[in-house]
Symmetry: C7
Subunit: 75 residues, 7 copies
């Protein structure tokens, strides 16, 4: 990823990010770790695909090739 | 995967994990083995895609490129 | 694949395994051969996607990149 | 592919094989040539996706990455 | 591709071929050029996905990774 | 791409081409630039997926791996 | 990407671009950074897939392999 994307990932560590996945799911949680393939570790994560039915998932490992968008917290 | 993801995988060995797969299926079982591509071996696994109709699958080998999310047990 | 996955494949040779494929099909048959890409050769295989309408396929070569899950026999 | 898969392909040359493709189509025809990527040349092929409406296709080149399953003739 | 597939492509140059594409479209036209990835140049091509509504497309460049099947003219 | 495909791309520069994309969209515009992966730059482009509701898009960068077909202007 | 695509990306920095993604979503925002894989960082971004229900997303990291089209501002 670009240096800038890397910087934003670093700044987002331990903050709540929103992740849209291929296939339409959306998860939200605290970013705990990432690598250059956008493999992510998230904590206190929940699946918020259906806004009214958030499902708590706790710790999550997300395989990077499923990531479409990541939205870090406002800076 | 990142060192952190690797660490969480190691800590999850012999514990029950939840795995969401491409195409929408979800399986749950005891993590018995993993590699860097997220190929997994699970035991006492069941397909819980339809919550009311869990299907016992026993031992499972999951091809890593189908993995979307892995949710390890609470720490 | 991991050493453990390899070991389970080896132990499953000549035994009946269940294979779930991308796109939703499921086949069952005796595992006759495999390689590191999970290309499989199966014998006495049948397509059991629709439980009530199993279709006999005889010998099968499965291209590994279509494999989602493999469920070996109980140990 | 494994040595065994290769052997079965070789034995199937000039015999009728069934090929299931990604996206759900099924073709049947005489196997005329193959390579290590499972690119196939078939002759006297027909598309038998809809059992009642087989469509004659004659000679066919199948791009290997579309192959899901190949079922050689009974041995 | 195999030597045989290459030979059939060569023999099909300047002849009408049928090409089935991922996603379900079918085009037909005169094969003008090909390469090892099955990238194709076709002339006087038409989209015949809907048999009753053939759409003339003229010259076409087809990206090889979309090709499922190619059916050359009878020999 | 083949030398011939490359030649046709070169001849199409500054001319209007039709591009069919994976997922079913079709765009039309003046070809301004291309590379070996079929990444394209188009100008005065419009999305003509729905024939009656063309949407003007102006300049466009198209990621090559989404391209299915390119139809250059008649020669 | 081609030199020309690169130039257009550079000219689009800090300007509002429209990005169509695989799976059908469309986002719009200020382009803050990009790399050769079309990984993007966008700011003040919103999901405008449903024109009447734009959703503010703020800063966004877009994984390049999901990008179909990018439409820079008029020059």
């Amino acid at each position: 990823m670009s240096e800038m994307a890397n910087k934003i990932f670093e700044e987002s560590l331990n903050k709540v990010v929103l992740v849209q996945l291929k296939g339409g799911r959306t998860v939200r949680g605290r970013l705990y770790s990432f690598d250059q393939h956008m493999n992510l570790v998230m904590e206190d994560a929940e699946d918020i695909t259906e806004v009214d039915k958030a499902k708590k998932l706790g710790t999550l490992i997300v395989r990077g090739d499923n990531v479409v968008l990541i939205s870090p917290p406002p800076r």
